[in-house]
Amino acid sequence: MNEATPERFPKMSFVGIDGVLVRFGAKMCDAANAAALAFHQHIEKIALVGVLEAAPSLTAVFLRLDLDADLERLVHRISKEVDAKNWFEDPLEKRRKWTIPCSFDGRQLTEAAQLAGVSDAQAVAQITATEVRVLTLGFAPGQPYLGSLDSHWDIPRMDGIAPNVPACALVVAVGQLIIFANEAPTGWRHIGQTAFRCFDQSRAEPFAFQAGDLVQFQSATPSEIEALQSDRFGGAKLEVLS
């Protein structure tokens, strides 16, 4: 990559013939993510005619445009919206907060705690005390990347092939948490188990999370989690903040 010309953000570029990508950073950090999510919230709110959908990723927002629209005008309009504010200073609207029960009995809790330099008990205390944000959804439908944890949780993913973690597993790596939507192999360390289904097509709200939602985990026993399996949201509580 070219190191000679420092990139300035936000930066808008074309992806394919009908995509526009607005980037807010060259690598993942909370500030770039918050700016991307704030811009995404803004784009959703103003609902520009000709923007078919907008999707935030960790540090950027992708917009898919209608090829039947006047693309030049639409792109000009989007660039005006990008420049309208300093998205890094625009506080992200805190709209919703989830409290999700989790039993911290994952196979790799001790290993993950050691990598973070804390005891098992400290690990659980720290994770349950932290209000994390849905940074983005991806990999599987409705699956959230949650962050960021304090810097000592910036632990690497595992090398090599990892055995599957079950659906609803809580895993950790690179300062982030994921609740797995489905049983899947992963390089992230399995620290806990929830009964929270990120995606359930039979539910009125099939995708539980929206990017930007706040999430806090609440320690529960394995038998409590087992009992919550029949609950549509695995015992989670949703608070609407604004």
Binding site: G16, K27, L137, G138, A140, P141, G142, F199, P206
Partner: protein, 334 residues
């Protein structure tokens, strides 16, 4: 909703598909839907209906017994189609009587064949689409013994029509710049255009491997943050072998992307079978928009190109090759 067909025997990867989803990217669900969107347009034009669900048959069809009278249209990959033992034309719309048995064999050309029915197949929908998306657990692979239902046929009398056979393009697949194209050197991009790739053995509705023995790896590519990806993106994982994303791709990915296939050319990759040669050619975004708009317009007018079936099926091959010559041949192939 009427029972349409009983599945007697079926290939391993037959699914219900339509145009897929729009607006679910932010929730982690990709567009999905048919692998070959042009074939879906053909089915719609032949039947005189749009946005209806079809059966997508990957590699092999099956044996289907009709429970009621119906109209069917077949498009996409070239498959042997027989109704009560008599050959039926591809790219055409036919009347079928209750009790008749339709047999659809292995794909001879291409990979994905499509069976459409008057009124469309009626299966449960999720957020507007009946598409089967295995990664998301939506819909299910069709199994023997199942009875599939159809909706109300809007044009029961529209039968005996054929679309001119579209020549299988040997031209390079057109690509435009995408998220990380400018991070790849001019030389690497030129080599990407010069390379003759073969569709690898690894491939499904999520995407296909493009093999060449060459590496297109991007130095420092592993430090790219994960971003939104869409069908048609060609990503280059660390080992340097490109991978083209298709309808059921994930919605985010951290591999650098060298190019994006023009939407109207994605079907060429999807329909390629292992070993088929694929080449790519960069065009400007402006040119791409123009071509894609023209393609959409042409698709919307496909129903006007449906012509009566003039000869009996045994002689149709001659007729089709005649129509092919007078039809759409791009002089631009190089």
């Amino acid at each position: 909703m009427t029972p349409a067909i009983e599945v007697i025997k079926v290939g391993p990867a037959v699914t219900v598909q339509d145009a897929g989803w729009s607006g679910t990217l932010a929730s982690g669900l990709s567009r999905g839907g048919v692998a070959d969107t042009f074939a879906l347009s053909c089915v719609g034009a032949l039947l005189g209906q749009s946005d209806t669900a079809v059966l997508e048959m990957a590699g092999f069809g099956g044996t289907f017994k009709f429970v009621n009278n119906a109209r069917i249209a077949i498009a996409g990959a070239g498959m042997d189609v027989r109704l009560d033992g008599s050959a039926l034309l591809n790219n055409a719309v036919h009347r079928v009587e209750a009790g008749q048995v339709l047999e659809i064999g292995a794909a001879r050309t291409g990979l994905y064949g499509y069976l459409g029915i008057g009124g469309g197949f009626v299966t449960p929908r999720f957020q507007g689409s009946a598409s089967t998306h295995r990664g998301a657990g939506l819909g299910q692979v069709i199994e023997a013994g199942q009875v599939l239902a159809m909706g109300v046929d809007p044009k029961p009398e529209r039968v005996g029509l054929v679309l001119p056979n579209m020549p299988k393009s040997s031209a390079a697949i057109r690509v435009v710049a995408t998220a990380h194209t400018d991070l790849f050197s001019t030389q690497v991009r030129a080599r990407f255009e010069e390379t003759v790739f073969t569709r690898g053995a690894k491939g499904n509705r999520q995407g296909v491997a493009l093999e060449s023995g060459e590496s297109f790896a991007l130095e420092g590519g592993q430090s790219i943050p994960s971003e939104t990806v869409i069908p048609g993106d060609i990503q280059v994982p660390g080992q340097g072998a490109p991978f083209a994303l298709l309808a059921d791709s994930q919605t985010t990915g951290g591999y650098p992307r060298i190019a994006a296939v023009l939407p109207c050319d994605i079907a060429q990759i999807a329909q390629a079978v292992a070993g088929d040669e694929l080449r790519f050619k960069f065009i400007s975004r402006e040119e791409g928009i123009k071509i894609e708009r023209a393609d959409r317009k042409a698709r919307a007018q496909l129903s006007k190109r449906c012509a009566p079936i003039l000869r009996d099926p045994a002689q149709m091959n001659d007729l089709l090759s005649y129509q092919l010559i007078s039809g759409a041949i791009s002089g631009e192939s190089e």
